[in-house]
Chain length 138, copies 3
Protein backbone atom coordinates (compact mmCIF):
# COMPACT_ATOMS: atom_id res chain seq x y z
CA UNK A 1 0.00 0.00 0.00
CA UNK A 2 1.22 3.47 -0.90
CA UNK A 3 0.17 6.73 0.67
CA UNK A 4 0.62 10.38 -0.22
CA UNK A 5 -0.02 13.52 1.83
CA UNK A 6 -0.20 17.09 0.66
CA UNK A 7 -1.39 20.35 2.18
CA UNK A 8 -3.07 22.96 0.01
CA UNK A 9 -3.01 26.54 1.34
CA UNK A 10 -5.57 29.23 0.57
CA UNK A 11 -6.02 32.86 1.48
CA UNK A 12 -9.30 34.21 0.18
CA UNK A 13 -9.89 37.92 -0.43
CA UNK A 14 -13.42 37.76 1.01
CA UNK A 15 -14.93 36.40 4.22
CA UNK A 16 -16.92 33.86 2.20
CA UNK A 17 -15.68 32.39 -1.04
CA UNK A 18 -15.89 29.14 -3.02
CA UNK A 19 -12.77 27.93 -4.86
CA UNK A 20 -12.66 25.07 -7.36
CA UNK A 21 -9.67 23.02 -6.17
CA UNK A 22 -10.12 20.03 -8.49
CA UNK A 23 -6.91 20.81 -10.42
CA UNK A 24 -4.84 20.99 -7.21
CA UNK A 25 -6.29 17.70 -5.94
CA UNK A 26 -5.61 16.10 -9.32
CA UNK A 27 -2.02 17.36 -9.19
CA UNK A 28 -1.56 15.74 -5.76
CA UNK A 29 -2.93 12.51 -7.22
CA UNK A 30 -0.49 12.57 -10.13
CA UNK A 31 2.40 13.13 -7.67
CA UNK A 32 1.24 10.13 -5.63
CA UNK A 33 1.60 7.61 -8.50
CA UNK A 34 -1.41 5.82 -7.02
CA UNK A 35 -3.76 4.27 -9.56
CA UNK A 36 -6.37 2.48 -7.41
CA UNK A 37 -7.47 3.71 -4.01
CA UNK A 38 -9.25 6.42 -2.05
CA UNK A 39 -8.52 10.14 -1.81
CA UNK A 40 -9.57 12.07 1.30
CA UNK A 41 -9.79 15.85 0.94
CA UNK A 42 -10.68 17.72 4.13
CA UNK A 43 -10.61 21.22 5.52
CA UNK A 44 -8.12 21.38 8.39
CA UNK A 45 -9.99 24.39 9.81
CA UNK A 46 -13.41 24.25 11.40
CA UNK A 47 -14.87 27.29 9.67
CA UNK A 48 -14.20 25.97 6.17
CA UNK A 49 -15.54 23.13 4.06
CA UNK A 50 -14.54 20.80 1.28
CA UNK A 51 -17.51 19.71 -0.79
CA UNK A 52 -18.44 18.53 -4.27
CA UNK A 53 -20.95 20.28 -6.48
CA UNK A 54 -21.35 22.24 -9.70
CA UNK A 55 -18.97 24.99 -10.90
CA UNK A 56 -21.78 27.38 -11.81
CA UNK A 57 -21.84 30.99 -10.65
CA UNK A 58 -25.60 31.25 -10.24
CA UNK A 59 -25.61 28.23 -7.92
CA UNK A 60 -22.75 29.70 -5.90
CA UNK A 61 -24.80 32.85 -5.37
CA UNK A 62 -27.71 30.65 -4.33
CA UNK A 63 -25.46 28.93 -1.78
CA UNK A 64 -24.44 32.31 -0.32
CA UNK A 65 -28.05 33.47 0.06
CA UNK A 66 -29.25 30.10 1.37
CA UNK A 67 -26.50 29.71 3.97
CA UNK A 68 -27.12 33.25 5.17
CA UNK A 69 -30.78 32.30 5.65
CA UNK A 70 -30.01 29.08 7.54
CA UNK A 71 -27.14 30.50 9.63
CA UNK A 72 -26.94 34.29 9.35
CA UNK A 73 -23.67 36.06 10.07
CA UNK A 74 -25.31 38.96 11.92
CA UNK A 75 -26.23 40.07 14.48
CA UNK A 76 -23.05 38.64 16.02
CA UNK A 77 -24.68 38.75 19.44
CA UNK A 78 -27.12 35.96 18.54
CA UNK A 79 -24.35 33.39 19.06
CA UNK A 80 -22.68 32.56 22.39
CA UNK A 81 -19.48 31.60 20.56
CA UNK A 82 -19.05 35.23 19.50
CA UNK A 83 -17.14 36.78 22.39
CA UNK A 84 -13.60 37.38 21.23
CA UNK A 85 -14.58 36.00 17.82
CA UNK A 86 -17.32 36.81 15.30
CA UNK A 87 -17.32 33.59 13.30
CA UNK A 88 -19.96 31.35 14.91
CA UNK A 89 -21.98 31.51 11.70
CA UNK A 90 -18.97 30.12 9.81
CA UNK A 91 -18.90 27.03 12.06
CA UNK A 92 -22.59 26.45 11.29
CA UNK A 93 -22.30 27.13 7.56
CA UNK A 94 -19.42 24.69 7.33
CA UNK A 95 -21.51 22.09 9.16
CA UNK A 96 -24.16 22.32 6.42
CA UNK A 97 -21.57 22.12 3.62
CA UNK A 98 -19.49 19.35 5.21
CA UNK A 99 -15.84 18.99 6.28
CA UNK A 100 -14.59 16.49 3.75
CA UNK A 101 -15.06 14.43 0.64
CA UNK A 102 -13.73 10.98 -0.19
CA UNK A 103 -13.15 10.40 -3.89
CA UNK A 104 -12.43 7.07 -5.56
CA UNK A 105 -9.18 6.73 -7.53
CA UNK A 106 -9.52 4.56 -10.64
CA UNK A 107 -6.91 4.08 -13.36
CA UNK A 108 -4.87 6.92 -11.86
CA UNK A 109 -7.73 9.43 -12.17
CA UNK A 110 -10.18 11.10 -9.79
CA UNK A 111 -13.29 8.98 -10.39
CA UNK A 112 -15.79 11.85 -10.59
CA UNK A 113 -19.19 12.09 -12.24
CA UNK A 114 -19.64 14.38 -15.27
CA UNK A 115 -20.37 17.58 -13.29
CA UNK A 116 -18.59 16.81 -10.03
CA UNK A 117 -16.03 19.42 -9.04
CA UNK A 118 -14.23 19.67 -5.69
CA UNK A 119 -14.58 22.99 -3.84
CA UNK A 120 -12.95 24.70 -0.94
CA UNK A 121 -15.71 26.57 0.86
CA UNK A 122 -14.34 29.41 2.96
CA UNK A 123 -16.69 30.99 5.50
CA UNK A 124 -14.22 32.97 7.62
CA UNK A 125 -11.48 33.94 5.23
CA UNK A 126 -8.93 36.64 4.57
CA UNK A 127 -6.21 34.59 6.27
CA UNK A 128 -4.09 31.57 5.37
CA UNK A 129 -5.86 28.26 5.89
CA UNK A 130 -5.23 24.68 4.84
CA UNK A 131 -6.79 21.69 3.14
CA UNK A 132 -5.39 18.18 3.59
CA UNK A 133 -5.17 15.70 0.73
CA UNK A 134 -4.43 12.11 1.79
CA UNK A 135 -4.38 9.35 -0.80
CA UNK A 136 -3.96 5.65 -0.07
CA UNK A 137 -3.88 2.78 -2.53
CA UNK A 138 -1.59 1.12 -5.03
CA UNK B 1 -4.47 -4.40 -1.56
CA UNK B 2 -7.49 -5.27 -3.66
CA UNK B 3 -10.00 -2.84 -5.11
CA UNK B 4 -13.39 -3.17 -6.73
CA UNK B 5 -15.45 -0.63 -8.66
CA UNK B 6 -19.09 -0.82 -9.64
CA UNK B 7 -21.65 1.65 -10.95
CA UNK B 8 -25.28 1.37 -9.89
CA UNK B 9 -27.82 3.01 -12.21
CA UNK B 10 -31.19 4.38 -11.17
CA UNK B 11 -34.13 6.00 -12.94
CA UNK B 12 -36.77 7.12 -10.48
CA UNK B 13 -40.38 7.64 -11.47
CA UNK B 14 -40.67 10.81 -9.39
CA UNK B 15 -38.64 14.01 -9.09
CA UNK B 16 -37.83 13.14 -5.48
CA UNK B 17 -37.51 9.58 -4.25
CA UNK B 18 -35.55 7.58 -1.66
CA UNK B 19 -34.34 4.08 -2.62
CA UNK B 20 -32.85 1.55 -0.22
CA UNK B 21 -29.73 0.36 -2.08
CA UNK B 22 -28.20 -1.72 0.72
CA UNK B 23 -28.73 -5.01 -1.19
CA UNK B 24 -27.00 -3.63 -4.32
CA UNK B 25 -24.04 -2.36 -2.27
CA UNK B 26 -23.82 -5.70 -0.50
CA UNK B 27 -23.82 -7.49 -3.87
CA UNK B 28 -20.90 -5.33 -5.02
CA UNK B 29 -19.08 -6.24 -1.82
CA UNK B 30 -19.63 -9.97 -2.35
CA UNK B 31 -18.29 -9.63 -5.92
CA UNK B 32 -15.18 -7.86 -4.60
CA UNK B 33 -14.07 -10.78 -2.37
CA UNK B 34 -12.76 -8.14 0.05
CA UNK B 35 -13.13 -9.04 3.72
CA UNK B 36 -11.44 -6.12 5.53
CA UNK B 37 -11.45 -2.57 4.23
CA UNK B 38 -13.52 0.49 3.41
CA UNK B 39 -16.44 0.90 1.02
CA UNK B 40 -17.16 4.31 -0.50
CA UNK B 41 -20.65 4.82 -1.93
CA UNK B 42 -21.24 8.19 -3.60
CA UNK B 43 -23.70 9.86 -5.90
CA UNK B 44 -21.96 10.70 -9.20
CA UNK B 45 -24.53 13.43 -9.82
CA UNK B 46 -24.75 16.67 -7.90
CA UNK B 47 -28.51 16.69 -7.42
CA UNK B 48 -28.59 13.30 -5.70
CA UNK B 49 -27.36 11.92 -2.40
CA UNK B 50 -26.17 8.73 -0.78
CA UNK B 51 -26.91 8.65 2.92
CA UNK B 52 -27.56 6.26 5.77
CA UNK B 53 -30.68 6.29 7.87
CA UNK B 54 -33.80 4.31 8.74
CA UNK B 55 -36.00 2.46 6.23
CA UNK B 56 -39.25 3.81 7.67
CA UNK B 57 -41.94 5.37 5.50
CA UNK B 58 -43.07 7.96 8.04
CA UNK B 59 -39.52 9.27 8.38
CA UNK B 60 -39.16 9.43 4.60
CA UNK B 61 -42.29 11.61 4.44
CA UNK B 62 -40.78 13.77 7.19
CA UNK B 63 -37.60 14.16 5.09
CA UNK B 64 -39.66 15.30 2.10
CA UNK B 65 -41.54 17.91 4.11
CA UNK B 66 -38.43 19.08 5.97
CA UNK B 67 -36.25 19.44 2.88
CA UNK B 68 -39.02 21.37 1.15
CA UNK B 69 -39.06 23.73 4.14
CA UNK B 70 -35.27 24.20 4.18
CA UNK B 71 -34.82 24.43 0.40
CA UNK B 72 -38.17 24.76 -1.40
CA UNK B 73 -38.48 23.69 -5.02
CA UNK B 74 -40.74 26.63 -5.97
CA UNK B 75 -40.92 29.40 -6.99
CA UNK B 76 -38.14 28.50 -9.42
CA UNK B 77 -37.33 32.18 -9.80
CA UNK B 78 -35.95 32.41 -6.26
CA UNK B 79 -32.70 30.73 -7.41
CA UNK B 80 -30.16 32.25 -9.80
CA UNK B 81 -29.16 28.75 -10.93
CA UNK B 82 -32.62 28.31 -12.47
CA UNK B 83 -32.22 29.74 -15.95
CA UNK B 84 -32.20 26.85 -18.38
CA UNK B 85 -32.67 24.50 -15.43
CA UNK B 86 -35.18 24.24 -12.58
CA UNK B 87 -33.19 22.10 -10.16
CA UNK B 88 -31.36 24.54 -7.86
CA UNK B 89 -33.38 23.22 -4.92
CA UNK B 90 -32.08 19.71 -5.70
CA UNK B 91 -28.47 20.91 -5.34
CA UNK B 92 -29.33 22.36 -1.93
CA UNK B 93 -31.35 19.36 -0.74
CA UNK B 94 -28.50 17.04 -1.70
CA UNK B 95 -26.10 19.27 0.26
CA UNK B 96 -28.16 18.71 3.42
CA UNK B 97 -28.39 14.96 2.84
CA UNK B 98 -24.74 14.47 1.81
CA UNK B 99 -22.94 13.15 -1.27
CA UNK B 100 -21.43 9.96 0.10
CA UNK B 101 -21.04 7.41 2.84
CA UNK B 102 -18.01 5.39 3.83
CA UNK B 103 -18.84 2.02 5.36
CA UNK B 104 -16.41 -0.30 7.13
CA UNK B 105 -15.99 -3.82 5.75
CA UNK B 106 -15.46 -6.45 8.44
CA UNK B 107 -15.39 -10.23 7.93
CA UNK B 108 -16.65 -9.73 4.39
CA UNK B 109 -19.78 -7.87 5.54
CA UNK B 110 -20.98 -4.26 5.51
CA UNK B 111 -20.28 -3.28 9.13
CA UNK B 112 -23.56 -1.47 9.78
CA UNK B 113 -25.41 -0.73 13.00
CA UNK B 114 -28.75 -2.46 13.68
CA UNK B 115 -30.93 0.09 11.83
CA UNK B 116 -28.44 1.50 9.34
CA UNK B 117 -29.58 1.23 5.73
CA UNK B 118 -27.93 2.85 2.71
CA UNK B 119 -30.16 5.09 0.59
CA UNK B 120 -29.99 6.73 -2.78
CA UNK B 121 -31.68 10.10 -2.39
CA UNK B 122 -32.90 11.45 -5.72
CA UNK B 123 -33.93 15.11 -5.84
CA UNK B 124 -34.08 15.68 -9.61
CA UNK B 125 -35.09 12.35 -11.04
CA UNK B 126 -36.99 10.81 -13.92
CA UNK B 127 -33.73 10.19 -15.80
CA UNK B 128 -30.88 7.69 -15.58
CA UNK B 129 -28.29 8.58 -12.94
CA UNK B 130 -25.42 6.76 -11.30
CA UNK B 131 -23.96 5.82 -7.92
CA UNK B 132 -20.34 4.73 -7.57
CA UNK B 133 -19.28 1.92 -5.26
CA UNK B 134 -15.53 1.69 -4.65
CA UNK B 135 -14.17 -0.87 -2.20
CA UNK B 136 -10.54 -1.18 -1.14
CA UNK B 137 -9.00 -3.67 1.27
CA UNK B 138 -7.91 -7.27 1.43
CA UNK C 1 -2.54 -3.84 4.58
CA UNK C 2 -3.52 -3.85 8.24
CA UNK C 3 -6.92 -3.10 9.68
CA UNK C 4 -8.26 -2.45 13.15
CA UNK C 5 -11.83 -2.31 14.42
CA UNK C 6 -13.11 -0.97 17.71
CA UNK C 7 -16.51 -0.08 19.11
CA UNK C 8 -16.88 2.83 21.51
CA UNK C 9 -19.97 2.79 23.73
CA UNK C 10 -21.70 5.84 25.17
CA UNK C 11 -24.68 6.46 27.44
CA UNK C 12 -25.43 10.15 27.78
CA UNK C 13 -27.31 11.57 30.75
CA UNK C 14 -29.31 13.93 28.52
CA UNK C 15 -31.39 13.54 25.36
CA UNK C 16 -28.92 15.76 23.49
CA UNK C 17 -25.23 15.92 24.33
CA UNK C 18 -21.90 16.45 22.59
CA UNK C 19 -18.89 14.40 23.74
CA UNK C 20 -15.29 14.95 22.68
CA UNK C 21 -14.13 11.45 21.73
CA UNK C 22 -10.75 12.39 20.24
CA UNK C 23 -8.82 10.63 23.06
CA UNK C 24 -10.78 7.38 22.55
CA UNK C 25 -10.22 7.47 18.78
CA UNK C 26 -6.52 8.16 19.34
CA UNK C 27 -6.33 5.21 21.72
CA UNK C 28 -7.84 2.93 19.04
CA UNK C 29 -5.24 4.25 16.60
CA UNK C 30 -2.36 3.48 19.00
CA UNK C 31 -3.72 -0.05 19.46
CA UNK C 32 -3.83 -0.53 15.69
CA UNK C 33 -0.08 0.06 15.17
CA UNK C 34 -1.02 1.67 11.84
CA UNK C 35 1.13 4.64 10.86
CA UNK C 36 -0.19 5.59 7.39
CA UNK C 37 -3.80 5.18 6.36
CA UNK C 38 -7.38 6.28 6.87
CA UNK C 39 -9.55 6.17 9.99
CA UNK C 40 -13.32 6.00 9.66
CA UNK C 41 -15.35 7.00 12.72
CA UNK C 42 -19.11 6.62 12.38
CA UNK C 43 -22.18 6.53 14.54
CA UNK C 44 -23.75 3.06 14.35
CA UNK C 45 -27.11 4.55 15.30
CA UNK C 46 -29.22 6.76 13.08
CA UNK C 47 -30.12 9.36 15.69
CA UNK C 48 -26.51 10.19 16.54
CA UNK C 49 -23.63 11.82 14.72
CA UNK C 50 -19.85 11.83 14.56
CA UNK C 51 -18.50 15.20 13.45
CA UNK C 52 -15.44 17.41 13.75
CA UNK C 53 -15.52 20.92 15.12
CA UNK C 54 -14.34 23.10 17.99
CA UNK C 55 -14.38 22.07 21.67
CA UNK C 56 -15.88 25.35 22.86
CA UNK C 57 -18.90 25.50 25.16
CA UNK C 58 -20.44 28.62 23.63
CA UNK C 59 -20.43 27.03 20.19
CA UNK C 60 -22.00 23.86 21.58
CA UNK C 61 -24.85 25.94 23.00
CA UNK C 62 -25.18 27.60 19.59
CA UNK C 63 -25.46 24.16 17.98
CA UNK C 64 -28.26 23.20 20.40
CA UNK C 65 -30.25 26.35 19.67
CA UNK C 66 -29.61 26.20 15.92
CA UNK C 67 -30.56 22.53 15.53
CA UNK C 68 -33.73 23.14 17.53
CA UNK C 69 -34.57 25.92 15.09
CA UNK C 70 -33.90 23.80 11.97
CA UNK C 71 -35.48 20.59 13.28
CA UNK C 72 -37.45 21.22 16.48
CA UNK C 73 -38.10 18.35 18.89
CA UNK C 74 -41.67 19.42 19.67
CA UNK C 75 -44.53 19.22 18.99
CA UNK C 76 -43.93 15.51 18.43
CA UNK C 77 -47.07 15.36 16.27
CA UNK C 78 -45.44 17.40 13.49
CA UNK C 79 -43.51 14.30 12.36
CA UNK C 80 -45.07 11.16 10.84
CA UNK C 81 -42.21 9.07 12.21
CA UNK C 82 -43.43 9.80 15.74
CA UNK C 83 -45.97 7.08 16.38
CA UNK C 84 -44.44 4.63 18.81
CA UNK C 85 -41.33 6.84 18.91
CA UNK C 86 -40.69 10.52 19.62
CA UNK C 87 -37.28 10.89 17.99
CA UNK C 88 -37.93 12.06 14.41
CA UNK C 89 -36.17 15.33 15.20
CA UNK C 90 -33.07 13.36 16.20
CA UNK C 91 -32.93 11.72 12.75
CA UNK C 92 -33.08 15.18 11.15
CA UNK C 93 -30.55 16.78 13.53
CA UNK C 94 -28.10 13.95 12.89
CA UNK C 95 -28.58 14.45 9.14
CA UNK C 96 -27.40 18.07 9.50
CA UNK C 97 -24.44 17.09 11.68
CA UNK C 98 -23.40 14.06 9.62
CA UNK C 99 -22.96 10.33 10.30
CA UNK C 100 -19.21 9.96 10.00
CA UNK C 101 -15.78 11.47 9.61
CA UNK C 102 -12.76 10.10 7.81
CA UNK C 103 -9.44 11.21 9.30
CA UNK C 104 -6.02 10.78 7.72
CA UNK C 105 -3.39 8.82 9.67
CA UNK C 106 0.13 10.18 9.24
CA UNK C 107 3.22 9.09 11.18
CA UNK C 108 0.99 7.12 13.53
CA UNK C 109 -1.04 10.18 14.51
CA UNK C 110 -4.53 11.50 13.75
CA UNK C 111 -3.72 14.11 11.10
CA UNK C 112 -5.98 16.87 12.44
CA UNK C 113 -5.84 20.63 12.01
CA UNK C 114 -5.03 22.83 15.02
CA UNK C 115 -8.59 23.10 16.36
CA UNK C 116 -10.11 19.92 14.97
CA UNK C 117 -11.66 17.68 17.61
CA UNK C 118 -13.83 14.61 17.00
CA UNK C 119 -17.27 14.64 18.64
CA UNK C 120 -20.01 12.17 19.31
CA UNK C 121 -23.27 14.06 18.84
CA UNK C 122 -26.13 12.39 20.67
CA UNK C 123 -29.67 13.53 19.80
CA UNK C 124 -31.72 10.73 21.38
CA UNK C 125 -29.71 9.63 24.35
CA UNK C 126 -30.07 8.19 27.83
CA UNK C 127 -29.37 4.68 26.51
CA UNK C 128 -26.30 2.74 25.43
CA UNK C 129 -25.26 3.47 21.84
CA UNK C 130 -22.17 2.76 19.75
CA UNK C 131 -19.59 4.39 17.54
CA UNK C 132 -17.46 2.35 15.13
CA UNK C 133 -13.77 3.06 14.57
CA UNK C 134 -12.26 1.30 11.56
CA UNK C 135 -8.67 1.98 10.58
CA UNK C 136 -6.91 0.64 7.50
CA UNK C 137 -3.34 1.20 6.37
CA UNK C 138 0.18 0.09 7.13
Amino acid sequence: MKSHRKELWFNTSKRRQLLNITPEVDKALQESKISEGLCLVNAMHITASVFINDDEGGLHNDYEKWLEKLAPEKPYSQYQHNGYEDNADAHLKRTIMGREVVVAITNGQLDLGPWEQIFYGEFDGMRRKRVLVKIIGE
